[in-house]
Amino acid sequence: MYRTIHYIALFATLLLVQIFIFDNLALSPYFNPLIYVTMLVLMPMESRSVVLLFTGLALGLAADFATGGAGLNTAATLPAAFLRQPLLALFCDRDDLRDGGVPSAPRMGGEWNFMRYAATVVAVQHAAFFMLESMSAVLLPHVLLRTVLSAAFTLLFVFIAARLFTYNISRV
């Protein structure tokens, strides 16, 4: 597959940026964007579920290893990986889905569709992450605030990364 190399590069770049920049960004406990989830958002639309699942597993394990997460990143990323395909189908026509390619606004029939799709994948993963991290209902308002702020930033990152990535791929 001609895009494999691009995807491997994307995988490595996202993890490096996550580990060496965002995990070191000591700004605030409310700001912890998990930008590596961009990988799941941008996996080809025709990807098989099992490939997505293993991609999510690899992302989670790598992030856990590098940040001492002890399973937290993995446990939070797997649900997003598993739900990626159903979510994509929810926000996109059956025909578009069959055509495949990198998920993007033109391919999904509009900016709004792509935005809702990306936001849901990011939200699933971030919500799982911060809920598991706090493991307490008392702190729910804080957990929500944390999820919303971090997910909002990740979403911004996804949009920029999606533009760059589809631009690079379309030149091949």
Partner: protein
């Protein structure tokens, strides 16, 4: 049988998902901060070098501020030495006193060394900090870590040859005891995971009469910290739910998000104390 295989094939991704998720959750639920620190120690053999290189870049921009802090600290020490020299009857005898004090330094209870912060976070509930010194430099687990200005930062929980991992105050598993600088009442220091500048001093005796602005320092009870290490200042006091003790909000003295260098403190009596305690425990159990 054939139908069973067909069925499994149709849902195998779901089964895989359930299995992976269960393993990950189980691992996470049973992992302590210490297990995480151990994992981090291992991964730093791989990523420590890159963290170190990035640190150099970030560090470059804070050199000026760090220099000023060092100079201030130096001036303060000079002042103290001068005061000490003046307070002695003759300058010579005072110098001799100071020299002899330093000659005995080899037998002090606490030994200090410096380290650079290679990576750290404040945005999780279990934050860790990685330092660029490890067992090869004489770092051991349980050494205390304080900021260059002497404020409490954390303690070492894992070491590899060249790196060590610190459990900082900003980790919900962090435990230390603290007391009001004036008076002997003490309580426990805890962080609830949300404000990188605020920790709490809980279970402080109701007779302590804390006031806003009071300084809270470490007690000598802990295995890690010497007595009197600055922790923070009281910003709010209230009685706990059962009205048996005070809960204080503290403004943390060390800014962990802007820390580039730290001081490690080794309590050399610690091993001896620990042996004594464990042998006593064996005897009376």
């Amino acid at each position: 049988m054939h139908k069973l295989f067909e069925f499994i094939r149709s849902i195998y991704v779901f089964l895989l998902f359930i299995i992976f998720e269960a393993v990950a959750l189980n691992y996470y639920a049973h992992s302590s901060s210490y297990a995480q620190a151990k994992l981090l120690t291992r991964s730093n053999r791989v990523v420590g070098g890159v963290h170190g290189a990035l640190f150099e870049v970030r560090h470059y921009f804070s050199l000026r501020r760090e220099n000023e802090a060092l100079l201030a600290r130096l001036a303060e020490t000079e002042n103290r030495l001068a005061a000490l020299a003046e307070s002695g009857q003759a300058a010579e005898s005072a110098t001799a006193q100071i020299d002899s004090a330093f000659a005995d330094a080899a037998w002090t209870k606490y030994v200090y060394m410096t380290a650079r912060v290679v990576s750290s976070s404040v945005n999780k509930s279990r934050n860790f900090m990685v330092l660029d010194r490890g067992m090869a430099d004489g770092v051991k687990t349980d050494m205390a870590v304080v900021s260059p200005r002497g404020a409490m930062v954390g303690y070492v929980v894992g070491c590899s040859d060249r790196y060590s991992v610190v459990l900082p105050v900003l980790n919900t598993s962090f435990r230390a005891s603290g007391k009001l600088q004036r008076g002997q009442h003490f309580g426990s220091i805890v962080w609830d995971g949300f404000d990188k500048h605020a920790v709490r001093l809980t279970e402080l005796s109701k007779y302590a009469e804390p006031q806003i602005g009071d300084t809270v320092v470490s007690t000598g009870f802990s295995h890690y910290f010497p007595e009197g290490v600055m922790i923070g200042r009281v910003t709010d006091c209230r009685m706990n739910g059962t009205r048996t003790a005070y809960d204080l909000d503290l403004d943390l003295a060390a800014d962990l998000s802007a820390l580039h260098r730290v001081i490690l403190i080794d309590n050399r009596d610690q091993d001896e104390i620990r042996e004594l305690v464990s042998s006593a425990a064996e005897q009376y159990n």
